[in-house]
Amino acid sequence: MIPQTVEFDEVSKFYGEVLGVNHVSLSIPPGITSLVGPNGAGKTTLMNLMTGLIHPDDGSIRMRGLSPRDPENLMRITGYATQYDASPRWATGFNFISTSLLLFGYSRAEAEEKAWRALQQLRLTEAAHRKIAAYSKGMRQRIRLAQAIAHEPEILVLDEPLNGLDPLVRAETIALFHQWAAQGRHVVLSSHVLQEVDVISDQIVLISNGMVVAEGKIRNVREEIHERPSQFIVRCRNASRVASVLFKEDHITEVRLNEDRMGLLVMTRDREQFSRAISRIALDGFGIDAVIPADENVDALYEYLIGEGR
């Protein structure tokens, strides 16, 4: 049976004396995985390693069972959109995509059909026969994505895929990511826009200084950070009374009242005890409208795990 994960086993990569990534071990399941980290953290290095553009000095990588040293097979199931706007300006969008598909070994008719489908998915059919030189920045970004998806790969590696896209296309592209992930494909992407990562990702990989700081589902990663109290927003009608009840709990470290007196920001060392406490309070008739985790997002994780170390 073909393995369905992207595996990094103790992978290290150095550029001369400069650290790329160090002792990275990862097991990425299908779905949308975001690589998050500051500039120079090693995100692009990880992507280049996955696609075999560079090879590790140490350790091994398997992409659904295939080695990145075997581009003949790997690149048939992998699509890569690099951060560079390298599409040939002299070619039309359609020619660029269909020609690159010929390199995969598709017949001309099949290559043209697949190229057209990719352009349709990225809403580029109207500009298909225009030269790429005449494309806007957003359109060039879309053609970059189109060339990566045209051969319908099962692993998509996308470096900053949403940069330069207008809100409508951005939303449609995110929907495409979800559609691909739902089919059981890998979508590995990097982004600096943390709010976006939050919405898109099934799991995240936080990288800093070439090392993986955390990986997994956002909630699971947050639960592992014991030294930082979890934050919850509680919307309720009688906020001062709820606050006074919560203060009696040992695990509560801080409670802040909202200015409108209709809500609280609660910090707790124990999420489960908090959950039980809030259920009790609700059953006692305090009128709890909503309990929302306030730091169960990439922004907070980034701040806790990477931001503080900087």
Binding site: G16, N48, L53, A86, P88, G105, Q147
Partner: protein, 286 residues
């Protein structure tokens, strides 16, 4: 999470052969090259000399047309190794100019635009890319070198008959093999300069510069050390020395075939190393 249970199907259909895929890059490179006006122009100019040579072959094979000339002249204009050597020397220069004109557009733009990751994100090895670029140039150079050369040889065989072929078959071999060596050398120089500098104009200058500088250097060595072995440092001289041996022509004074072959081989090896080092999908600056 089994992928096949979730609607995605890996492509199972037929794929084209390796060579069909390999030829995609040269085909598109040729199309781009012939969009430049200078390339077809130079190709046409490069055909003038073979045309004149064809006329020469026709004349030498039609004795009635040479009746008015002296016996000495009639014996002078025969089709032999010297004839093909002169043909090769002229065409080799056209090949060099063609390489200087088209070679820089092969790799330099890909490096300047960071397009190599785009190529290597295909089922394509680094060696495939390099050979495809080499083939692009080698085939183009062949069109002005051994292809007209072998046509001239064929024309002479057709007119002079099988007896001539029996005694001169090595000329045909010499033209093809000699031009193959030259074409390979020129293509490698053009590729290396294209990979070394990201600017097309500089790269073109470098191709011509390489041959002029090495020619000048070989002359300097000869003068300073009062030797003739310095000639081997000139790729043109070394190539011509090998052509002479292949065509059975008396060579000029200088190093032998083996020494020249060794020098050319060393040049090719060094150029291949430059290409290998520069042709990386990711440029790493440490």
């Amino acid at each position: 999470m089994a992928v096949y249970k979730r609607g995605y199907q890996r492509y199972q259909g037929p794929i084209t052969s390796y060579w069909t895929r390999f030829m995609v890059l040269p085909r598109f490179a040729w199309r781009r090259m012939f969009q430049q006006r200078l390339v077809p122009l130079l190709m046409v100019i490069a055909m003038i000399w073979p045309l004149l040579c064809a006329i020469f072959i026709y004349l030498t094979n039609h004795a009635e047309l040479l009746k008015g000339f002296s016996k000495q002249f009639q014996s002078f204009i025969s089709i032999n190794g010297n004839f093909f050597l002169v043909f090769m020397i002229v065409q080799a220069d056209f090949a060099l100019f063609l390489a200087a004109l088209t070679g820089p557009g092969l790799i330099a733009p890909d490096l300047a635009n960071n397009a190599l990751p785009l190529y290597f994100s295909r089922p394509l090895r680094r060696s495939d890319y390099a050979f495809a670029r080499l083939a692009t140039l080698f085939v183009l150079i062949s069109l002005v070198t051994w292809v007209p050369g072998i046509l001239l040889f064929g024309m002479q065989v057709g007119m002079a008959g099988s007896d001539w072929l029996h005694g001169n078959w090595r000329l045909g071999f010499g033209v093809v093999a000699g031009f193959a060596i030259w074409g390979l050398l020129v293509s490698l120089v053009a590729m290396a300069s294209s990979a070394y500098t990201k600017m097309k104009a500089v790269s073109g200058g470098l191709v011509l510069g390489f041959f002029f500088i090495m020619g000048g250097l070989s002359g300097m060595v000869n003068v300073i050390f009062r030797v003739t072995w310095g000639n081997a440092l000139s790729p043109q001289w070394a190539s011509r020395r090998i052509w002479c041996a292949m065509l059975g022509v008396d060579p000029n004074e200088g190093p032998g075939v083996a020494a020249c072959a060794l020098v050319l081989l060393s040049f090719m090896l060094l150029l291949a190393i430059v290409i290998e080092r520069k042709l990386r999908p990711i440029e790493v600056i440490t």
